[in-house]
Structures are given as C-alpha cells and as structure tokens.
C-alpha cells in the first residue's frame, strides 16, 4: 500500500509557482517547462493555480519584504506532504540582490527548502533535473512510511485556514516537523 502511495506521489507532482520578487528569468523558464519542447506533463507535473492543490512549491526570486509574509501564507495553505524547491540564485541565497534594503534574501530564511537549483536562471533542463532529484529523494528503494498525518486525513482540522483571511504567523514549531519530514527523505 505504501508502495502504491509513493508511486502515485512520484508520478503526480503538482506544482505551484510562487514568484517572491524574481526578475522573470526563472519564471519564464518554469513556464517554458510546460511547453512542447520540454513538456513536463510527461512526468505528470501539472502547474496548479491554487496552493490547495499543489504538492511542490517552486519558489523563484529573492524574497522581498512584501512577499515574505505571503510566501509563508501560501506555504501554510498547501496540504501535507509538501516540498519546496528554490529555483535560481536569488531563491537560493538572494543572489545579486542579497543585502538590498527591501530584500530578505533566500527562501530558506522564510520556509524550509527541500531542494536548491542554482543558476541565473537555471536552464529548464536543470529545473527538471532538480525536480527529478527531489522525486528520487522521495522514492527510496524501500519506501518508508510517509508522514503519519496522511493516514488520518481528518487530523489537521485546527490548521485549517481560509484562503482570504490572514492566517496566523507561522511559528517555529509549526515549521519544524516539516523540516524533519523532508530531511530523512532527502538523505536516502
């Protein structure tokens, strides 16, 4: 059963793209992935409009002050299990904009990041490669039980937040378990 679930997850990663103040370079490369030349639909990747539907959050950009809070909110709105991929030099560390007055710099300062894809911008192939690496990390040879919450879907009721209303600020405790969950997968 766990095998089937992992198989389904690996074969159907729906992504949400969040631009946290990027220059568009990475963003158009992400969109280019959907188009005939790269066509990530081959791997079951679908670009979803709503954070509620997504499994993987692709973040581009250097995280400006205005976007930091929204990034957190979008991350909270995503259902478990969720993964974050930082795309481009800006998302990895702030890149050329690190240290500017309106820039937080680096997605991992706001939300936990599973995979980093450096490049300015990374080629679409490199993004694909990053997603594949993430998925490989997801499906170890002997799949371990995926996060326990999954088995009881009714559990996270108290986490439920409406999309329009502002959510509570993410506390460190809320973020922590996700990091731990992502890490063991990444190592295998």
């Amino acid at each position: 059963m766990a095998n089937i679930i992992t198989w389904a997850r690996v074969k159907s990663p729906w992504v949400l793209h969040f631009n946290s103040g990027a220059c568009n370079g990475c963003d158009i490369e992400i969109v280019a992935l959907l188009t005939p030349k790269y066509d990530v639909e081959r791997f079951g990747v679908k670009l979803e409009p709503s954070p509620r539907h997504a499994d993987v959050l692709l973040v581009t950009g250097c995280v400006t002050q205005q976007c930091a809070e929204r990034l957190k909110r979008v991350y909270d709105q995503m259902p478990q299990p969720k993964f974050v991929v930082a795309i481009g030099a800006c998302a990895c560390s702030g890149g050329v904009f690190a240290g500017n007055y309106n820039v937080v710099g680096g997605v991992d300062k706001v939300i936990p990041v599973t995979a980093y894809i450096p490049g300015c911008p990374p080629r679409p192939e490199a993004i694909l490669d990053g997603v594949v690496k993430l998925l490989n990390a997801l499906s170890p040879p002997k799949p371990k039980k995926q996060p326990k919450q999954v088995k009881t879907p009714e559990l996270p009721k108290e986490e439920a937040k409406p999309e329009v209303a502002k959510p509570e600020a993410v506390t460190q405790q809320e973020v922590k378990p996700i990091v731990e969950e992502a890490k063991p997968n990444a190592k295998q």
Partner: protein, 127 residues
C-alpha cells in the same frame, strides 16, 4: 460567436490535426542530453595552478559569490554557486585565465552546503 465560428473556421484546425501525425517537438531530456554550445556559461571551473591570488575575481563579482579563502597559505577564490549569477565577469577579470567555463549546468541539490566549491576541488560531481 457560434455563428461566426461556423461561417469562418479557424486556421487552427488544420494545424492541430497535422500535429497528430508529426513527431512532437518535445526533447527527450532526462534520457537524451541536449547539445550545448561550447562556450555555454555553466559552472565556472577554477584552475588552482594558474591562480596568482590577485583577488580581482572576488572584487569584480557583482553577486559577491567569490570569497578569498586561505588555502595552503595562499588566498584562493571560493565559489558559492548558490549565489553565482553565471555572468563570467570573474573569468574576464582574471589576468591569468584561471577561471574557465564549463557546460555543466545540472547543479540541483538537496544539500545547500554542496554548492560551495572549495578551491582544491575544481570539478564538482553531480549532486
């Protein structure tokens, strides 16, 4: 609307149907690697033998991705690929051509620390 649609069918229908019978434009990326131009700006490759420790690369780097670190008593550049914008100003500034381009671009990793290239190791293996 519906009426105009029928009276003047779009030129799209022919084009779409023709694509059923032609090969898709999709490259077979993960299985077949693309052919890159020779001077593609991929991961910068640093040749420690040519380095004269002048620090010009670090000074000119727009993203401050190059840090001069002490290696065997000499200051050598350390590349932070997570910050690098692959502009190759360092290669242009280097008086001894110690920094060269490579076509290696699949740098994705789940471990951020592997993106810091120490001066000793010149070519990183894929994460």
């Amino acid at each position: 609307m519906t009426k105009t649609k029928k009276s003047r069918i779009s030129p799209m229908w022919k084009r779409t149907v023709s694509h059923i019978f032609t090969k898709p434009a999709t490259t077979k990326y993960p299985f077949v690697k693309p052919q890159l131009p020779d001077d593609f700006r991929g991961q910068p490759v640093f040749d420690i033998k040519l380095c004269v420790s002048c620090g010009l690369c670090s000074r000119d780097c727009p993203a401050k991705a190059i840090e001069m670190v002490e290696v065997e008593g000499k200051r050598r550049p350390q590349f932070k690929l997570d910050q690098c914008i692959f502009c190759y100003q360092c290669a242009e500034s280097c008086p001894r051509n110690a920094i060269k381009s490579s076509v290696f671009y699949e740098l994705a990793t789940t471990d951020k620390s592997s993106l810091v290239i120490k001066p000793q190791t010149s070519v990183k293996k894929g994460a």
